[in-house]
Amino acid sequence: MDVLVCIKRVPLSGGKFTITEDGLDIETAKLGFTISPHEEVAVEEAVRIVEQHGGSVTVLTLGPAEAEEQIREQMAIGADRGILIETDSQEWDPQATATAIAEAITEDETDFDLVIMGNESADASGYQVGIRVAHKLGRPIVTGVKAMTVEADKATFERPVKTGRELYEVSLPAVVTVLDGLNIPRYPSVPGRIRAKKKPIERRNPERPESRLVKTRLEVPVTESKQAQVLGSGPEAAPAIVEIFKQIGVI
């Protein structure tokens, strides 16, 4: 079973985001980078599938050269090789992203049985790259999956809905987009980190097509300028809290 997982490097901010002067990006000078929890569980699931069935896990990302860091982190979890589609500093829109990913998959020497992606990216959250890739590959896709069973030539996907769960049965090869909660990702081991350094990464440099969804401005919503009223610094504040419970009618 050869599984490909798509991930995306995004800034990680503990507090509020700061926007760059040109109003187009997040100020990242003081931030670390990560991937979405949706993608962390995607890689973990791929590693588990290969532990069970044999095969390989490839991690693909479209992003700046620095995104090698995110590929290596997932190699420490168990991915075998990486594909880095290197971009300029500009943001690629969902159509351009899907086209480049589908091309990389088609041109790869491995015929992937399963492509796993996050249901939506952490930052742009466009809800569409996985579906566009599946169309370009001519493969079935199920989205928003929170449990799956993979057999030799078919997979069963489970998706939470308001009324319970929906089941989808699909023959492989297929594409699936997954949600946080699919599993609990393992932490990388020290030997895993050491092995990760030597694993191969293939680089691709396609041209960026014209964007058709063009970001013109980013903004932090203005509604958030509260500052909590401090009621105390220990158990002695409990009566004041209970007063609030009464005021808002929860007791």
């Binding site: 949706h38 969804l213 980013l218 903004e219 401090v230 409990a238 419970f245 007791i251």
Partner: protein
């Protein structure tokens, strides 16, 4: 014409669709066009009346023998057929899992760009949108170059409002599908396990714990307080990542979005991705040892202290108050 993609479950109308119809009505009024809607599946006929009351002129109902359960690609194929036949200028879906899914398939089928999770749409060329990023922690203004404009609306951007009474004429048609369009079909599984108590999304009171709770056992006092206040437990991703609580209790960008009357955040730092799930809480109380924690900037009240000491005191005071 503005075309709204309506979501329903075997004839049961999704309330978010009425919000999209209400927004679609405003768009149609601004461009002087009629408002149409698409419902897929024969049992969707029953929702036409409600759609008419909300201002829909023509309800296109796609009827096909292969269409009983939800099939995302087939729904998009039907949408593509109607959009082309009617010359729609905007196709509007709900920013729900299904709405965004069908819209993305439509974008792939037609090779048109899609703007998901919009809070504002101004049709034109290009169409201007304001859309949510990072689960709503950032807003993006963007230009969408394509016609029809394919957009979805963030849930609860607008209140569903009838008062746009239109004829709601039903126009049935049989869409043309290939076998591939019906390859992925939902089989409804056994309904959700009987859960005790209220669901997190609908809870009025949530006692939420983060890394500061320290362990699975550390949630005992949170559960006790939840019980006293008729509330339910929420948590941060650090908590689900450590396996202390199930993911169904995670609040945030990749968890559940909640809007309770009261949210008590215990040992949670307030990362934007957590706030993305609880920014609509009416009252937020924080218990945290760190007066500089980011969550102070979102909360109404705070106790700067150790939850291990503060929670037992609150529980005791609450007991006393309830006793009389």
């Amino acid at each position: 014409m503005v075309l709204v993609l309506v979501d329903h479950d075997h004839g049961q109308l999704d309330e978010l669709s009425l919000q999209a119809v209400t927004y679609g009505r405003e768009l149609a009024a601004s461009t002087g066009e009629p408002l149409d809607a698409l419902v897929v599946g024969a049992d969707g006929r029953s929702v036409a009346g409600a759609l008419g009351e909300h201002g829909v002129t023509t309800v296109h109902v796609a009827v096909h023998e292969g269409l009983t359960d939800y099939a995302p690609l087939a729904w998009a194929r039907a949408a593509s057929e109607v959009a082309t036949r009617t010359g729609a200028s905007v196709v509007l879906a709900t920013g729900s899992p299904r709405g965004n899914e069908v819209l993305a398939h439509l974008g792939a089928l037609t090779d048109l760009p899609v703007a998901a999770d919009c809070v504002e749409v101004t049709p034109g060329s290009p169409t201007k949108v304001v859309r949510a990023r990072w689960g709503g922690s950032l807003m993006e203004e963007a230009n969408l170059h394509g016609s029809p404009a394919l957009v979805s609306l963030v849930p609860h951007t607008i209140v569903a409002d009838p008062g746009g009474s239109a004829s709601g004429d039903v126009a049935e048609f049989t869409p043309t599908f290939s076998d591939a369009d019906l390859l992925v079909i939902a089989k409804p599984a056994a309904a959700a396990e009987e859960s005790s108590g209220v669901s997190l999304a609908d809870a009025k009171v949530i006692i939420s714990g983060g890394r500061g709770v320290g362990s699975a056992e550390g949630f005992a006092p949170l559960e006790e307080l939840a019980e006293l206040l008729g509330g339910t437990i929420g948590c941060s991703r650090v908590v689900t990542g450590n396996g202390w609580r199930p993911h169904t209790e995670q609040v945030g960008q990749t968890g559940t979005k909640v809007a309770p009357d009261l949210y008590i955040a215990c040992g949670i730092s307030g990362a934007t991705q957590h706030i993305a799930g609880c920014r609509n809480a009416k009252t937020m109380i924080v218990i945290n040892t760190d007066p500089e924690a980011a969550i102070m900037g979102y909360a109404d009240y705070a106790i700067i202290g150790d939850i291990g000491k503060v929670l037992p005191a609150i529980i005791e005071e609450t007991r006393k108050a309830k006793a009389g």
